[in-house]
Amino acid sequence: MSRAIEFLFRRRGGKGWHWTDIVTWIWLIVGLFVMFGPAVWLTASSFKSPAALAEFPPTILPYVTQKVTVEGYDKPLDLYTVTLDDGSTATLAEIRRIGTVSQMIDPDKPAEIVKVNIAKRTPVRQMSFATENYTEPFIHFDFVRYLWNSVFVTVTATLITLVVNSMAAFALSKYEFRGRTFAMLLILATLMVPLSVIMVPLYSIVSALGLFNNLWGVILPTVATPTGVFILRQYMLTIPDELLDAARMDKASEWQIYWRIILPLTAPALAVLAIFSVVWRWNDFLWPLIVLSRKELYTLQVGLSIYSGELNVQWHFILAMTVVTMIPVVLVFLFLQRFITTGIAGTGLK
């Protein structure tokens, strides 16, 4: 173990510890907690019952007070460990509490009532995962719908993005035609027109097209991404033109060249764009918030924000649904992180 630590903290060139090494490791360890801690804390909290969530100070793991059903009492009673007057301890169930005195019974001998000062009893706690936080919203609220809407928007928008952007990138990288530079500049210029600048008129256009309160109204404005066209075009430029000529000699039509030659060869760039698009569309918030006003059309992000903004926030459900919303992104992070980080370092897009 100490060898492992030694190895982990090894110094470049095996020299002694420099102050920068200490700063480095403090920074990294603190970073580990600050970056992962909040999400871990949220996930841990999502398994707590509403009662446990209201506790202060909170516990890290979800505990609930153990209950017992006793003959003659309708409701299950809370169990406590009690220090009796003679110094021995016993496990008793509480019937009621008056001031600082608690009336308790032994579950095995329900007839005998013992009076105990509340300072002398501690609840019997057991770990319990409140999985109903997860199941309830799906059964009683619309979260299945929201989940479905989010998945539909993400998958459809990503597919359209891939097809439409790759077609444009193909035209812009492999054909000579009048206005090509103009088209490129036009696409470049849109980088300067983010949604927040055009949301008012865009809303009127989407309404005029009858796409208000329609998932397609969320999908369509997002699919012609300039960044997507860019990375695909950059990649397609590296595919040799002779390959296209060879396909033309092989009687392939231009459309066949696109989908049988260019698309498969652009797969690595398409994969990067697909990952980004999934994360973008899954996380989209402002635009769906504007376009979708009917409850059954909400995406997860909109649904979550609306529910969390209500006066009486049901945190146990919100937390669980936040975890559900996080899952795809965490999966992407776990398995495709390398793709994304190299993608960003290479192109500077997000």
Partner: protein
């Protein structure tokens, strides 16, 4: 992207596309082929280029360019009607209203006081955000650029929040900063009284800055790290041969060579900070009061959410914001071009 091994991934992807049961896709593609061959025959390669470009340009024109131009018209009309044809022309009234202030430094003296509150909030937010963001990501990048054990793991640690949705980010921190939250628990351990952070004007504002740094820092760290790794190693070795002290190496070698990269990052942070909305909207909703109300939220609420919607005013405000963004983007393009030139000279 350069790191993606072209050969192997091509092969894998080729198998996926080619060998997977893609019968319906193949069928569809085949069906499209016949009419497209006709297009190709009739209009030639130029026609095909137009065909390939068309869907993108169409979507693009309808959902980006058209609204962009309509926006100007919108900003010169009044009333609550949605469609431009139903709106009355008011000229520059909306702009006049936005700028109707007796003292620009005090939002309360303005006719549209929430706008100026939002502007001043955004201004402060941008200033704090840029300085702190650059500071944190630079330090993190420098640390990650050292000869570390498991560097890709540590890089991933700082990158993790970047992928989270703004709503999730907002909720995570709302949960931590609430009365029974983790932060109060931690401070309680040190003997502090629990505090309701998000109902305190100053703390709420600080929270918006801190949370958005937390959420986006990893992204900028990556870009700066890429810049650091592009600095040739032999420069450091030469400095070491000369016995240069670490601090001097940083100020005389690292910083000057990183500068073009850093400038681009600064502008990127600026562009994003000006548009801040999502996570703040979930975290504080702009409150308490208007203490965390930013310009995008002002536009959103004026245009959509307020009792008395005023799309014209919202459009005017969005054009002003767009103007700032265009300036910043041009700055970024200029910067990255000049840094490219410098790179070529090297």
């Amino acid at each position: 992207m350069a790191e993606i091994s072209r050969q192997t991934s091509q092969r894998r992807a080729g198998q996926n596309l080619g060998d997977m049961a893609m019968v319906p896709v193949r069928l569809a593609m085949g069906l499209i082929d016949a009419p497209l061959r006709w297009v190709q025959k009739t209009f030639g390669l130029g026609g095909m280029a137009a065909f390939f470009l068309l869907p993108n340009m169409l979507i693009f024109g309808i959902f980006v360019l058209l609204p962009f131009f309509i926006n100007f018209a919108y900003s010169m009309t009044g009333g609550t009607a949605l469609f431009l044809s139903d709106r009355s022309f008011v000229g520059s009234d909306q702009y006049a209203r936005l700028f109707d202030c007796s003292n620009y430094l005090n939002p309360n003296t303005c006719a549209e006081d929430t706008f100026w509150t939002a502007v001043s909030n955004t201004g402060w937010f941008v200033i704090l955000q840029v300085t702190l963001m650059i500071g944190f990501s630079l330090v993190t990048a420098l640390i990650l650029n050292r000869d570390l054990m498991a560097r890709s793991f540590w890089r991933a640690v700082f990158f993790f929040p970047v992928l989270l949705s703004p709503v999730v980010v907002g909720l995570i921190w709302k949960w931590i900063l609430q009365r029974q939250g983790l932060l109060n628990f931690g401070l309680y351990g040190f003997g502090f009284e629990p505090h309701v952070w998000l109902t305190d004007r100053n703390w709420a504002f600080a929270a918006t800055v801190g949370v958005s740094i937390w959420a986006h820092m990893g992204f900028y760290t990556l870009i700066i790290l890429a810049g650091l790794q592009a600095i040739p190693k032999d420069l450091y070795e030469a400095a070491e041969m000369d016995g240069t002290r670490a601090m001097r190496v940083f100020t005389r070698i690292t910083l000057p060579l990183l500068m073009p990269n850093l400038l681009v990052v600064i502008v990127l942070v600026l562009i994003r900070a000006v548009q801040i909305f999502d996570e703040v909207y979930v975290l504080t909703g702009g409150g308490p009061g208007t203490s965390t109300l930013f310009v995008t939220q002002y536009i959103y609420e004026t245009g959509f959410a307020a009792q008395l919607r005023n799309p014209g005013l919202a459009a005017a405000a969005s054009i002003l914001m767009g103007l700032v963004l265009v300036l910043l983007t041009l700055m970024q393009l200029g910067l990255s071009r000049s840094s490219e030139k410098k790179g070529a000279r090297k």
